[in-house]
């Protein structure tokens, strides 16, 4: 175990996989010479050379198309988007090509590409750079979606993503890059997809979270504990595949659920998870399943308005109090 930042854990994961497998390479804007906008790829070009850490022109569709083609040809590309907001111009490559080629080739062509980069809200990055778009990718069959909440998960999930033969949407959170955590140094440490973690045990209400909302829910759980409510916090880790077994087992124990996300509430990941709890855990529910999410507005730049639009600890506490009333 070593104490390191979330960004360092991501870097370690990529370095270990590049050491292990020569077909793994990185491409993206400013990933090499500049060493990454968020320093995630710091030192990697120096260590692995220009052929394996490739600086690209400013063209997301070009990055995504090149990475998809390279994956089809047998390499294992890690394509970095400077932020996931920029990936929108690459949607055709991701949704129509990377996600579908294995199916359309009858399984003869695989596409083991990882698209990664910072997602999430905050830091006064305003409407075009501060948004959470995971539901767009969850919606598409053929894509896997991972959103780590801790440094250890960042390493374990990214290593699994690189080894996975399918295209993976790997959404990091800019607000977590500098968070420190204990990370296993074992180069064989991976976290398989579809295994949620119970990060705090409780008996009265299940708080379902992923990415940055995990820490928000943990803070809310501490406050709820002081109010006499025992909250269980689940970190989903991956949204596709979705570990409903862990969620349903928890709801069977607590009988109440609050599903949280940074995304806009309308048609978000929480809507899907809440619907599945209703479908599969109906008889266990003692209260409606509530969602906590962002305000349905383009993200404001003004600090106070931005704070009002991003779900926080108080929103989670209010929802938990409502379902335990």
């Amino acid at each position: 175990m070593a104490l390191m930042r979330y960004a360092e854990a991501l870097r370690l994961a990529m370095a270990e996989e590049m050491e292990r497998d020569p077909s793994v390479f990185i491409c993206g804007e400013e990933v090499g010479q500049y060493q990454g906008t968020f320093r995630v790829t710091e030192g990697l070009m120096q260590r692995f050379g220009r052929d394996r850490v490739v600086d690209t022109p400013i063209s997301e569709i070009g990055i995504a198309g090149m990475a998809t083609g390279a994956a089809m040809a047998g390499l294992r590309p890690i394509a970095e988007f400077m932020t996931w907001s920029f990936a929108l111009s690459a949607m055709d490559q991701i949704v129509n090509h990377a996600a579908k080629i294995t199916y359309m080739s009858g399984g003869r062509i695989q596409c083991p590409v990882v698209f990664r980069g910072p997602a999430g809200t905050g830091n006064q990055l305003s409407a075009q750079h501060s948004q959470s778009l995971e539901a767009w990718f969850m919606h598409v069959p053929g894509l896997k979606v991972a959103m780590p909440a801790t440094a250890a998960d960042a390493k374990g999930l990214l290593k699994y993503a690189i080894r996975d033969p399918n295209p993976v949407i790997f959404m990091e959170h800019a607000g977590l890059y500098s968070q420190r955590g204990e990370v296993p140094e074992d180069p064989d440490f991976v976290i398989p997809f579809g295994q949620a973690a119970i990060v705090r045990e409780g008996t009265d209400v299940t708080l379902v979270a992923y990415s940055h909302m995990v820490s928000t829910c943990l803070k809310a759980a501490v406050s709820l504990h002081d109010m006499g409510i025992s909250a269980e916090v689940i970190d989903l880790r991956t949204l596709t595949p979705l570990d409903m077994d862990t969620v349903l087992a928890s709801v069977a124990k607590t009988h109440r659920a609050v599903v949280t996300q940074e995304e806009w509430l309308n048609v978000g990941a929480a809507a899907e998870i809440a619907a599945r709890i209703g479908e599969m855990g109906f008889d266990d529910l003692d209260a409606p399943v509530l969602r906590v999410g962002g305000a349905d507005v383009p993200m404001p730049y003004a600090k106070k308005l931005e704070s009002a639009a991003i779900p926080n600890e108080q929103d989670v506490i209010a929802a938990a109090l409502r379902v335990t009333d």
């Binding site: 009988h255 109906f282 008889d283 266990d284 529910l285 003692d286 209260a287 409606p288 409502r322 379902v323 009333d325």
Partner: protein, 413 residues
């Protein structure tokens, strides 16, 4: 302005049907004047006014079944006084109307409540599951959840706990049977009267919850029947019956064996009654009625006979009140007048026993000297609740009755 509410007219009455209004809106009403006819499980009763005034609004329509305590009308000081639409006076306790009965349109309370329109109870899925497991009637549970009075799991658990803490002697009504309309041969369907439904409910409850066993005792009635002839010759204008003798014998046996004059209160308790109140099962065209002869412990044969005759008259004339049919501690059912030799009866809950009396008919028996001899014999069958009455107690009780009737001068003591 007075609220007129559905009165409680006897033990166990939870709802009543408004058969007929005897007063209409605008009519003046005097104290004690009958204003409506109410039908309960047991009888039709006129409801007297408790206050004087004018009927200003009728809430319960004729034919409507409402819960005890629900407002059925408003009485004003003057004929044109306007009824006050207070939320507390809404007929919220209204029970389900019988099928096919038109219901008066009633305003509904707007306060947040689990009882939505149509009587649907807001409840969580878990609460419903738990209610099924614990046998709790969710419509009778007060909801506290979600700020809207939703019945949640804790409410069901509290209701189940309260039920355990204060058990009720009468078990809950059996679950409603699914309709067999489709399986049966064609015929004319007729809805059951309230009395028939009450008989169905009580007999089913009795057979399903009371462990019955039966003891048959033959009784030589020659001496008793001879006594009857001489008594009736002596007491002009009165007619002592075989049944009167049997009741008197039962009363004396109950005095000797108070263990038969009891009821199960709950799993841990049995109540031995202070008084001996004997019900007499009387078949009428409408169904079975069991008027009760109260406090017979110290009454003479003649007094018992007079009380029985009075009750029989009330029964024939349809004048029985719910009070007349409450508080029984033992029952006698006699089908001897129809030539029935013997039968076994269903215990009337919560009582512990019922005596079924057959006909006294001549039979060839073996006399004291070994010769065949014709004697008038009667068979009685005691149905016992084995939770309170064991075989030996039941047998001794019957021996007592047999002894009294075979040496009938005892009955005049």
């Amino acid at each position: 302005m007075f609220e007129i509410r559905m009165p409680k007219m006897g033990d166990g009455m939870t709802e009543g049907t408004l058969r007929r209004w005897l007063k209409q809106v605008g009519d003046a009403v005097k104290v004690e004047e009958p204003i409506a006819e109410i039908q309960t499980d047991k009888a039709d009763v006129e409801m007297p006014a408790e206050d004087a005034g004018y009927i200003v609004q009728i809430v319960a329509a004729e034919g409507e079944t409402v819960a005890v305590g629900a407002v059925i009308a408003y009485l004003g000081a003057t004929a044109d006084e306007k009824p006050v639409a207070s939320a507390a006076a809404q007929p919220a306790a209204r029970a389900a109307a019988p099928a096919g009965t038109a219901r008066a349109t009633a305003p509904t309370a707007s306060a947040p409540t689990a009882q939505a329109a149509g009587g649907r109870v807001k409840s969580s899925p878990l609460a419903r599951k738990k209610a099924g497991e614990l046998g709790v009637d969710i419509s009778a549970v007060t909801g506290t959840g979600g700020g809207v009075g939703r019945v949640v799991a804790r409410d069901v658990e509290a209701a189940a706990a309260a039920r355990t803490a204060a058990p009720v002697a009468a078990p809950s009504a059996p679950a409603r049977q699914p309709s067999r309309a489709g399986e049966l041969p064609p015929g004319r369907d007729e809805s059951l009267s309230r009395m028939r439904k009450a008989i169905a409910r009580r007999t089913t409850e009795s057979k399903q919850t009371i462990p019955h066993f039966y003891l048959v005792m033959p009784i030589d009635m020659d001496a008793a029947l001879d006594l009857l002839v001489s008594l009736n010759a002596q007491w002009q204008g009165e007619k002592i019956t075989v049944n009167d003798l049997v009741i008197k014998a039962c009363v004396m046996a109950l005095v000797r064996h108070p263990g038969v004059n009891c009821a199960v209160v709950d799993d841990d308790t049995v109540r031995f009654f202070d008084s001996i109140n004997v019900g007499i099962a009387v078949g009428t065209d409408d169904g079975l009625r069991i008027p009760i002869l109260l406090d017979l412990g110290r009454k003479t044969l003649r007094e018992i006979s007079q009380a029985a005759r009075a009750m029989a008259g009330k029964t024939r004339n349809g004048e029985l009140t719910p009070q007349d049919m409450s508080s029984g501690t033992f029952t006698v059912s006699n089908l001897g007048m129809f030539g029935i030799e013997e039968f076994s009866a269903i215990i009337s809950p919560p009582q512990s026993a019922i005596l079924a009396v057959g006909a006294a008919a001549p039979e060839v028996t073996v006399g004291a000297d070994g010769a065949f001899v014709a004697r008038r014999r009667m068979r009685v069958t005691l149905s016992c609740d084995h939770r309170t009455v064991d075989g030996v107690l039941g047998a001794r009780f019957l021996q007592e009755i047999k002894g009294m009737l075979e040496s009938p001068l005892n009955l005049l003591a």
